[in-house]
Amino acid sequence: MDWFYIQGILMLAGINLIAVLGLSLLTGFTGLFSFGHAGFMAIGAYLGAFMTVSPTTSPAGLGLPFAVGVIAGGAGAGIVSYFIGRITLNLKGDYFCIATLGFGEAIRLILNNVQLFGGSRGWPGVPYKSTLPAIIIVDILAVIFLANLVRSRHGRNMIAVREEELAAQIAGINVFKYKMIALVVSAVYAGVAGVFFGHYMTFIQPKMFSMTKSTELTIIVIFGGLGSISGSVLGALLLTALPEILRAFEIWRLVFYGAAVILIMISRPKGLMGGMELTPAGLRKARNERKARILALKESKNGQNGEAGLG
């Protein structure tokens, strides 16, 4: 395997990771499942391409620098998600999930049928701008932003919404607002990922942002463990690399991919990390929780489990 090939896989994993981190906030921390985030990636990819593609090619772009494309792609996806959220975030549970599925497909079909950006034939001539260092820097920033957000009162409020929506409301948490924040942040992440994806492939086509892509992102989040940033990172790296490692199996590789995911989910139903973080503080917390559980178990065996613990 040459470096160019490995670098390509790393870049794809890094790009996937950006989108997965955003989805991790929405699904893992706030408890909303989405099957339409490829739609936000598509918005990012097309807006980004529109900014950077040279005005002389067809379909023409604006020929602006890549950074403008990244900002536009992220902001555009975020703004669209805000309006989508206004309509759909009041839907309960599965209904929200179905609405996102519809949204993702709608975006793909619109791009397929509107000829402005090449329609279903796609849009060639997107400049090759995604470099491995740039992706790694964005990944690191994305992790820091997310980790700091999650470990704040805002993040705790989102987790409370995931845990018990009614109790969260009664505890004075504006559930709608926090669902909205999670959705918009996740859409911005997906949009940025879309821009990098387009500028890595140098060609974009609506087909790339199908429901399969949305499902892949959600699978990675669940595979890594809901409510764990380190899980999302591991999941994105492993599950992007896995199909490449399995290339030796040729047409069987997707079967092996599916089997591998199922095996992991059976042996670790809460995902790879199961809500734990691979950081010093995260490990300390897990240790304290285990200690407390063992202590409580011992006490209950001694018949003084504090059931009369009131007073």
């Binding site: 700091n148 009664i170 004075g172 409580a296 059931e307 007073g311």
Partner: protein, 257 residues
């Protein structure tokens, strides 16, 4: 003593069924007020109407003289009304400490930018929140269990944690929905003392729904009895327990021979 909560002509209809029908009563400030009645009498519905979980069909709920009907639950919580649930609703996968810490959030006002960039305002306010949560746990005797995941707590302690989480909001009115459900007489006794202690220490008014008559009769200064959504009687414990209408609702009418 001023009334902290005034409920006037409260009505809630679900389709053709009037779950609560023209009920009025007032909770005095600093009091412990009981709400009793057979199953399906509309007690929990009244809680849901006060806290904004349901929207009311008719009538008005006034808190400290201001109408709160139509406000969303989180705003009502912010104003100082909070509650516990009949079937405990903790943040199950979070630790005891995290449950309380989450509910302390109204004490801080730092923005998302503050938290992402870890600005001084974030650090200062976050420290204060941690301190407040620790303090509450120690007052309520849960410090030893702070790292235990709420789901693994013994039942009685889960109930207690739910009360602590409610107290973290600095409420002035606490609604307790069957806090003694599933408790033996001994635990109920302890709970009674806890409720009185909370009222005194945190300077709250308490509205409590309960089926345990010892608890209601023991601590409530005033009681409202509901049956089929209608207010049956109101008064102090001694009067209520002698009221023929109340006895009829609970035990059935005596047959004329």
């Amino acid at each position: 003593m001023a009334d902290i909560l005034e409920i006037s002509r409260l009505t809630k209809r679900f389709g053709g069924l009037a779950a609560v029908n023209d009920v009025s009563f007032s909770v005095p400030e600093g009091g412990i007020f009981g709400l009793i009645g057979p199953n399906g009498a509309g007690k929990t519905t009244i809680f849901n109407l006060i806290t904004g979980v349901y929207s009311l069909t008719e009538g008005d709920v006034r808190f400290r003289g201001k109408s709160i009907s139509g406000l969303p639950p989180f705003k009502i919580a912010d104003m100082g009304i909070t509650r516990t649930f009949q079937n405990i609703r903790l943040f199950k996968n979070l630790t005891v400490f995290e449950n309380v810490l989450t509910a302390c959030h109204l004490g801080a006002s730092y923005s998302i930018i503050d938290s992402v960039l870890r600005l001084p305002r974030f650090r200062k306010e976050e420290k204060a929140l941690f301190k407040k949560a620790e303090n509450l746990l120690s007052i309520m005797g849960l410090t030893e269990r702070r790292d235990l995941v709420a789901n693994n707590l013994p039942y009685g302690m889960q109930r207690r944690l739910e009360i602590v989480r409610a107290l973290a909001l600095d409420p002035t009115l606490l609604l307790l929905d069957e806090p003694a459900a599933g408790m033996n007489p001994d635990e109920t006794e302890q709970l009674m003392r806890l409720i009185v202690r909370i009222r005194d220490e945190f300077k709250l008014s308490v509205l409590v729904i309960e089926h345990h008559m010892d608890l209601i009769m023991g601590i409530c200064e005033q009681i409202v009895v509901l049956n089929f959504g209608i207010k049956l009687a109101e008064g102090c414990a001694a009067d209520i327990s002698k009221d023929p209408k109340v006895i009829e609702a609970y035990l059935g009418a005596t047959e004329e021979v």
